[in-house]
Amino acid sequence: MARTVVVLLRLALAGIFIYAGWAKLYPTANVFKFMMDISSYRLLPEWSIEPLAYFLPPFEIVLGLWLLTGWQLRFSALASGLLLCGFWLAMFITYMRGIEANCGCGFGEEPISPRTLTRDGAMVVGAAFLMVYAWRAARRRTLATPATA
């Protein structure tokens, strides 16, 4: 049962990352929208916004593909969890500061709201579950392997 949940979670997160990364990159002008969205958070210095806007979407796609393969799941789940945690924290801080910013999540025009915070929070929980499961499975495998003389 847990194995099925893990597979479904892995595929869901992979799909979300690939779609979100792609939607921010194509058409190319979408990168500009993403740039403005990051800027509207008012969290980062201006010089860092453009490099980040160009780096994050391909990174999300690569992460999604990595999750899709299932290779070294504990590390891909860890990377996903950290990234999602970072996104969620940025959104939470901006929301609490009362700044009206767009989520920039790649799902169209979405101001940061309790709804987007809940949705991304659920994704963080999903990635955390995946990570714990994968690390425990890896540990079990290590313990089950007989030590060589």
Binding site: M36, Y54, I61, W71
Partner: protein
């Protein structure tokens, strides 16, 4: 295990950097050489005292020929201009704004004013300001009426009055004394026309049409602004930093 972790991290970083390099190699430099240098929005809207005083008729260097409207002459029935800048500009920026909203004031001084200096005068952007007074703001509609009345005289008069209304927003928001504020930005003759126009039902109808247009476009808060490029309409997030908006406009102007 450490080796595998390192390989996995290396692969992801290299792949990310590779795609970034690939996608950004076709992008132009951050500032177009054809674009005029950015005027630094050195104003901090949090502190009204730090703002430069708004231009007055005496300080306005590029004063256009004044309309020959005397108190007995018929009043202008409508605006004779469509936007700040050229109506044939490749990009349009539309703003829905409320004069009593502090965020609109910040947007005007930090974004719209530098935009006028860098893009509209160069004919690259047509800037359209729509009145969108919010119901909760007691004097916002009256301020919008004054601005609309000034707009009937010309874009320069509108800019001067808008500068003054936003600049003195902390004062008139308290007491509603808008007329002295508007008078600071206009000549006697212009102010006379504005006084006669401001209560004209046509002025209020123009303000109302801005509100209706905003509602049609899904505007719920101010400032709400949009970039309109051929085949594309993009909402500008309210807190966007001007240098980032510049980068976006330059990219769109270069047809990306």
């Amino acid at each position: 295990m450490n080796k595998k972790l390192l390989i996995a991290l290396l692969v992801i970083v290299l792949a990310g950097l590779g795609v970034w390099k690939f996608t950004s190699s076709s992008e132009p430099a951050a500032s177009s050489p054809a674009a005029p240098p950015a005027s630094t929005p050195a104003t901090s809207t949090a502190n009204p005292q730090a703002l430069p005083p708004p231009p007055t008729p005496e300080t306005q260097k590029t004063e256009p020929p004044r309309p020959k409207t005397a108190s007995t002459e018929p009043l202008p029935k409508e605006r004779t201009w469509q936007c700040i800048g050229s109506p044939n500009a490749p990009l349009k920026v539309e703003v829905f704004s409320d004069y009593q909203c502090p965020a609109c004031r910040a947007f005007y001084f930090d974004v719209a004013r530098p935009l006028m200096a860098d893009y509209t005068t160069a004919g690259k952007v047509c800037l359209i300001y729509h009145e969108f007074p919010l119901r909760g703001h007691q004097y916002a509609r009256r301020a919008a009426q004054y601005a609309e009345a000034a707009a009937r005289l010309g874009p320069n008069q509108w800019i001067r009055v808008t500068d003054a209304i936003f600049y003195y927003q902390p004062q008139w928001s308290q007491d509603g004394q808008l007329e002295p504020v508007v008078a600071k930005a206009l000549t006697e003759k212009e102010m006379d026309v504005v006084r006669r126009l401001v209560d004209d039902p046509g002025i209020d109808a123009a303000v109302e049409s801005g509100v209706r247009e905003g509602q049609r476009r899904g505007v719920r808060s101010t400032p709400s602004s949009f970039i309109i490029a051929p085949g594309r309409e993009e909402r500008i997030p309210p807190g966007v930093q001007y240098p980032i908006l510049r980068r976006v406009l330059d990219g769109l102007l270069q047809g990306q």
